[in-house]
């Protein structure tokens, strides 16, 4: 104990703490980085190239080697090497710099897309991860799932047709549903439709749309359209978007005779003493939370009023079908009502 000195002890302690922090901090910790890097780089690059080609060919665009090198973040050598490897395995054909998918390459790509979209569906339905994290997590997971695991995942999820962004999930035989819809920025005023797809790329635009609380499945009505902005109503709120952002949202147009409830409000604004009818639950609530709310009686047509206010303001207890159920504001704001 001769060398003991509280200051030395503290210094050693803080050095170790800082080191551990650098090693294990979320996402950027060295430990995670090394772990991510050690995982077969080659396979990931090949699969990323396949996906890139697949998405572009779907949009009738063909890429040359340069395009690929520019788009992907990996080192140029690695990409070139991968493309050559893919050519020898007959996943792609190279004709004067243009890279094209072969049938087996296209099948492979479809499998990756299937894994990606199923994993996003899984994250949305069965986990508590935030919406903004889904894409990135699926980008990593798609390379890890084997074909059998993907099929098992699909059957566990009930073979869903669409992922949470509204993108169709290919079946294990490669069937893929078509999205029939129009881009929001091209709809006329007074068109009524349902949002069926939100593009998750580019990331900045996608995050902005999420921040606006716009969600797949919501009914919308366009009220204003000009070169600088698109205004539409949905679920009792008014949204203003720049056309370039609205271009990332696809809407399926509904028949005119669909009754779109106007004067919608959110349950969170209900005041003590008022009664309202429930119109529905926003599509933003999914998975178990949604089912639980439905089971508790928050269904279309049910009468709801405030039973108890909280000394801290949140949550509030609502009287629904004879029972007092407390909901937090963030849930109540996703339940659509019409005051009576």
């Amino acid at each position: 104990m001769n060398t003991y000195n509280p200051i030395t002890a503290l210094l050693i302690f803080f050095t170790i703490s800082v080191f551990l922090y650098l090693l294990f901090r979320p996402n950027k910790g060295w430990f995670w980085l090394i772990k991510a890097n050690s995982k077969s780089n080659g396979k990931i690059v090949v699969e990323d190239i396949l996906k890139l080609l697949y998405h572009n060919e779907n949009a009738d665009k063909h890429l040359n080697i340069n395009d690929i090198v520019r788009t992907l973040k990996n080192s140029d050598d690695l990409i070139l090497e991968s493309i050559n490897k893919m050519a020898t395995h007959e996943l792609v054909t190279i004709e004067s710099d243009m890279v094209k998918l072969t049938q087996s390459g296209s099948d492979y790509a479809l499998r990756i897309v299937r894994a990606h979209r199923l994993w996003e569906k899984f994250l949305a339905e069965k986990t508590g991860f935030d919406e903004v994290e889904w894409h990135e997590r699926a980008e990593r997971k798609e390379h890890e799932l084997t074909k059998d695991e993907t099929d098992l995942l699909a059957s566990k999820l009930g073979n869903p047709q669409f992922d949470p962004h509204g993108d169709p999930i290919p079946t294990n035989t490669g069937k893929i549903a078509k999205i029939k819809g129009n881009v929001l920025s091209e709809l006329n005023v007074d068109t009524i439709g349902r949002i069926i797809h939100i593009k998750d790329k580019p990331d900045i635009v996608y995050k902005q749309i999420l921040a606006e609380n716009i969600h797949i499945g919501s009914l919308i009505r366009v009220v204003e359209k000009n070169a600088s902005r698109i205004v539409f109503h949905s679920e009792g709120e008014s949204f203003v978007l720049a056309p370039i952002i609205a271009g990332n949202i696809t809407v399926s147009i509904l028949e005119k005779d669909v009754v779109v409830e106007e004067n919608l409000a959110r349950l969170s604004i209900l005041k003590a003493g008022e009664t309202a009818k429930i119109i529905g639950i926003s599509k933003e609530i999914r998975g178990d939370s949604r089912r639980r709310l439905l089971d508790l009686g928050f269904v279309k047509g049910a009468d709801v009023s405030i039973d108890l206010l909280n000394p801290l303001g949140d949550p509030k207890a609502f009287l629904i079908k004879g029972t007092s159920i407390a909901l937090r504001t963030n849930q109540a704001s996703k339940i659509l009502i019409k005051k009576v």
Binding site: K126, G158, P311, L312
Partner: protein, 472 residues
């Protein structure tokens, strides 16, 4: 043939599911409720439109009011804890008198009459029996008071309102309002608190409640806190204030525990538990007068006896181990002495000592036997007078005599403060660990719940010790 048809049914169902789209569950739920509404319209007649009994509404208004809600809650919690701690004193000392002071010597006498070899007698009576007796004497009375009181409040319907009132605070740290109840239950017993987390139906919030329950100071730890605070904290202030000062210190530790509970809940919900599903809803059931005797009977059977039984099962081997390490010699010193000497350096860094660390290692099964073990080990290594021999746990009747033994063992105010902190922040007892495993069925979360608090205990006591030595 059969298989082909079944595959046909399954693929047909897949096709149909595709056609229907994702509205199926919503439509079905709405359809069922629509049927229910039709049936009810025929069969149920309500004479008036009052949705709730006047008296229920009035109780609710007061219990959840801005002015009365919180004071009422703290008052009830304080009353329950006070009744538990004060009320348990008398039966506890009676049980101790019976099991430790009367039955123990009698058993020893019996053993020597029938000529039992000293090691068997020591192992069974001084080791196993004494640990079990200690746990019963310290644990049974407070639990037998605390759990029925709690159950009465629960059956009446008050506890859901507490969860309702406090939910916002818990939401800020990513937890569920019902955690307020499992936390309070933890003041009685952490194992029971962990079982009580079943009321939280959201997976993420339930795990948070399980992992952080240990930050509620349980019945097994209150006596340690009170004893050490009385001896050391009470002594640094003028005698007139010593009662208040030591009480304040104990309450401070309990509040610190609540603070750590919030902090850890928040950190868990932001990191390792981020991916667990999180849902929230809370039913506020109507008030129902509890049936007093039935409630007391069932809560004794369901909670107290089960938890006590588990504690005994774990305490018995601990008693055996304590006796063995103090009586088995490696070379010229017992295993206990050897352990204590090798842990002294680390203990010093934490502002504790080897005795305390060894006591916490061997007393994992039950916090109740930490103090008797510390006393026994202190006497063992210092060689001062007192106690009943190697491996025989004991407690002293007078607080000051206990203080003298501890001070002879080299204890200072820092040791006392850090022991109080470490008593709050260390691994849950093995009963609780086992219960966590049974509830989560996950080795991973059990490990997290066991290791996390002890690491925090090391860090906190270490920092306190270094800063203390720098400043004083």
């Amino acid at each position: 043939m059969k298989n082909k048809n079944i595959e046909h049914i399954i693929s047909l169902s897949n096709d149909l599911r595709w056609q229907i789209g994702d509205e199926f569950h919503d439509n079905l739920a709405e359809g069922i409720y629509a049927d229910a509404a039709e049936i009810v319209k025929d069969a149920v007649h309500k004479k008036d439109q009052i949705n709730k009994l006047r008296i229920d509404a009035r109780i609710d208004k007061i219990i959840t009011s801005k002015t009365w809600g919180f004071p009422l809650m703290f008052l009830i919690l304080a009353l329950v804890l006070w009744l538990t701690i004060i009320g348990a004193n008398y039966p506890s000392s009676m049980l101790a008198g019976l099991l430790l002071d009367t039955l123990h010597p009698a058993l020893k006498g019996l053993a020597s009459t029938i000529g039992m070899p000293w090691w068997l007698d020591g192992f069974l009576i001084d080791g196993v029996y004494l640990a079990v007796a200690w746990v019963i004497a310290v644990m049974l009375p407070p639990m037998a008071i605390f759990f029925p009181l709690f159950t009465l409040l629960e059956d009446f319907g008050y506890l859901p309102r507490v969860a309702f009132n406090l939910d916002h605070l818990f939401k800020l740290s990513g937890a569920h309002g019902k955690q307020a109840l499992t936390m309070s239950m933890g003041f009685g017993c952490n194992a029971a608190g962990v079982v009580a987390t079943r009321i939280i139906d959201s997976p993420r919030e339930r795990l948070i409640a399980i992992i952080t329950n240990n930050f509620s100071l349980c019945n097994g730890r209150w006596p340690t806190q009170i004893l050490i605070a009385t001896i050391f904290i009470g002594a640094v202030v003028p005698t007139a204030f010593s009662g208040i000062a030591s009480l304040g210190a104990v309450i401070g530790i309990a509040i610190l525990g609540i603070f750590f509970m919030f902090l850890v809940s928040w950190a868990l919900s932001k990191t390792v538990l981020k991916g667990e599903v999180s849902t929230f809803n809370l039913e506020l059931p109507p008030y129902r007068p509890p049936r007093f005797w039935k409630t007391i009977y069932t809560s004794l059977i369901d909670r107290t006896i089960i938890v006590l039984w588990r504690a005994i099962v774990f305490a018995a081997p601990a008693g055996a181990v304590i006796w063995l390490i103090s009586n088995v010699y490696l070379g010229d010193q017992s295993i206990a002495a050897w352990l204590i000497h090798s842990l002294d350096g680390f203990g010093f860094l934490l502002g504790l000592n080897g005795v305390i660390l060894v006591a916490y290692i061997v007393a994992i099964p039950a916090n109740e036997i930490v103090i008797p073990t510390i006393l026994m080990l202190t006497v063992l290594v210092t060689g001062i007078d007192g106690g009943a021999g190697a491996g025989v746990m004991f407690e002293l009747d007078s607080v000051s005599a206990t203080g003298d033994v501890l001070k002879a063992g080299g204890w200072t105010l820092l040791t006392a403060v850090n022991l109080m902190l470490f008593s709050l922040l260390h691994n849950p007892c093995s009963t609780t660990i086992y219960t966590i495993y049974k509830e989560t069925k996950s080795l991973k979360w059990t490990t997290v719940a066991s290791i996390l608090p002890v690491i925090m205990g090391f860090v906190v006591t270490f920092l306190v010790a270094q800063i203390w030595r720098l400043l004083i």
